[in-house]
Point group: C2
Chain length 316, copies 2
């Protein structure tokens, strides 16, 4: 897959393109969590984004980047949840069809949201190969344009707008951290962050049970298959090739955290920020807590990625 | 108890007085909830207020209304949770002691928050008589000024600032609704709302198992004792005399809801707004859902009162 990487300019273009449709999400702080960490914490609340996750940014940028004659056949993607929902919602803003390939076993709340958003649903087995095969099949049958969940220039640029906004909302940050699954968000954030301020420390947070990004960076070569074992349903994907390339170029450090650490951090977020965030989002706070001494006195921007949780099945 | 009722002017003064300490809380909307109701819904997020509840507004206004020689002996109150925490936090902003009388059986998360805020704790039996007796005793022993949770001009004016803000943030509302327990919030909101726009419909939401405000309005006389039976721990109090007077004068209608309706509404709020709100807050959405047809096409401001929940003991 060959993907041209976006620069800050493309991220600014994306911000303008999605502005009529996306929410400028608030940045919240918590005195109790700042006391606990001994650092300033600026939480970018993408759980309050349209569709309940940052994914709408990338999907919306992709949908509105298409020429009219490309767009009319619609868009297609495979997604365990948030990206599929985001693409369906973005397609609806342009009045074009969205085909979403959903693996069996995806979180119920997320699948329901995709259906409500009006997508044409296609089920498949819960493997990356099965998803990609089914998406290719739909693409050929309908002429729909594939919008990959993370290995896509338009998506990376769109996700980067979250960081652009955060840095405009919170002056003087020295560190930023976002979760890493496929890497669409983290790569977009790294490009935006260093475009705005090359001195920023850019960190990723990854579940230890899906630590392919951390391992790929350590080995200098991308791991091409693994069996994820983590409660973080949004982060079970392999990092994309172009996304890994960005992490390497931008010297992004990835901190891995256990599910136990993530669940404890999730509770802290619910209790102190009064926000419903999904478990994947909590990896960022877990990572900071794990290396607390190192971050003392820092001014840190954290991306809370989403809030689409089965509230009847909380992980504690 | 004789209490002078505040007017819009006192609420504006309170807003200026608390501005250095309180949070201007965001107003959030949800397309899914608006579709469900067929109405515009503007949620004033007091769960994101300092201390996790609107109570900080009234407590802060009370603390900063005191003359220096009154203030130095500190303040005292009795509270099942949020007001005690708020008063402790407000007292800390002025560097004066706060005594809080806490009834046995109060929500753990709330009691812990009061302790963390640095209050001097006094336990008592879980009855209104026991609370008031203990508070009077502390008052006599220390010279601390009583800041009643709701039957207090300064508190009513402070709580009213939530409505002042909401009406500044969301133009064109025609209806507003807030929960009613002691009535500090609802009375302050009614004064602020009608001060800004006399044509606004002002509604209260009350648990059927603690419907003394609704009954007192219906009978034309204040009910003086009752045994509350509701999961809404923040709304188990009798409405205060001056608070009831405001509701009468402002022709506030109180809609009662069952705990079942409230818990269903609470889940909807968590799932759609991605906010942790306490069960008492959900009465407002439950009330609107109960009379859905009546509110079709309205532009409604709803006060979400707090987010201090034991997340290990959710009511579903």
């Amino acid at each position: 897959m060959s993907v041209t990487l976006p620069g800050l300019e493309q991220i600014r273009d994306a911000a303008a393109r999605i502005a009529p449709h996306a929410t400028i999400t608030p940045v919240l702080r918590s005195a109790a969590l700042e006391d606990l960490l001994g650092a300033e914490l600026h939480f970018k609340c993408e759980n309050l984004q349209r569709g309940g996750a940052f994914k709408f940014r990338g999907a919306c940028n992709a949908v509105w980047s298409l020429a009219d004659d490309e767009a009319r056949h619609g868009v297609v993607t495979h997604s365990s949840g948030n990206h599929g929902n985001a693409l369906a919602m973005a397609a609806a803003t342009r009045g074009i069809p969205a085909h979403v390939v959903v693996p069996e076993g995806a979180v119920r709340a997320k699948v329901e949201a995709i259906e409500r958003a009006g997508a044409i649903m296609h089920r498949c087995a819960p493997t990356i190969a099965a998803r990609e095969a089914k998406a290719a099949q739909v693409q050929q049958a309908t002429g729909a344009i594939l919008v990959h969940p993370y290995a896509d220039t338009r998506v990376i640029a769109g996700q980067g707008t979250a960081m652009l906004e955060l840095l405009q909302q919170s002056a003087g940050l020295d560190t930023i951290i976002a979760p890493v699954g496929g890497g669409g968000l983290l790569s977009g954030c790294a490009i935006a962050a260093h475009g705005m301020n090359p001195a920023l420390a850019v960190l990723g947070a990854e579940p230890a049970g899906a630590d392919d990004a951390a391992q790929s960076l350590a080995r200098g070569a991308r791991i091409e298959s693994f069996v994820p074992d983590t409660v973080c349903d949004g982060l079970r994907t392999l990092i994309g090739e172009p996304n890994l390339e960005v992490l390497r170029e931008h010297r992004v450090e990835v901190i891995t955290v256990s599910d136990e650490e993530t669940i404890a951090a999730m509770k802290l977020l619910w209790q102190n920020l009064k926000l419903v965030v999904e478990v994947s989002s909590a990896t960022v706070l877990a990572a900071l807590l794990k290396q607390r001494d190192r971050f003392a006195g820092c001014r840190i921007g954290l991306v809370l990625t989403g809030g689409n949780v089965d509230i009847d099945r909380l992980p504690w």
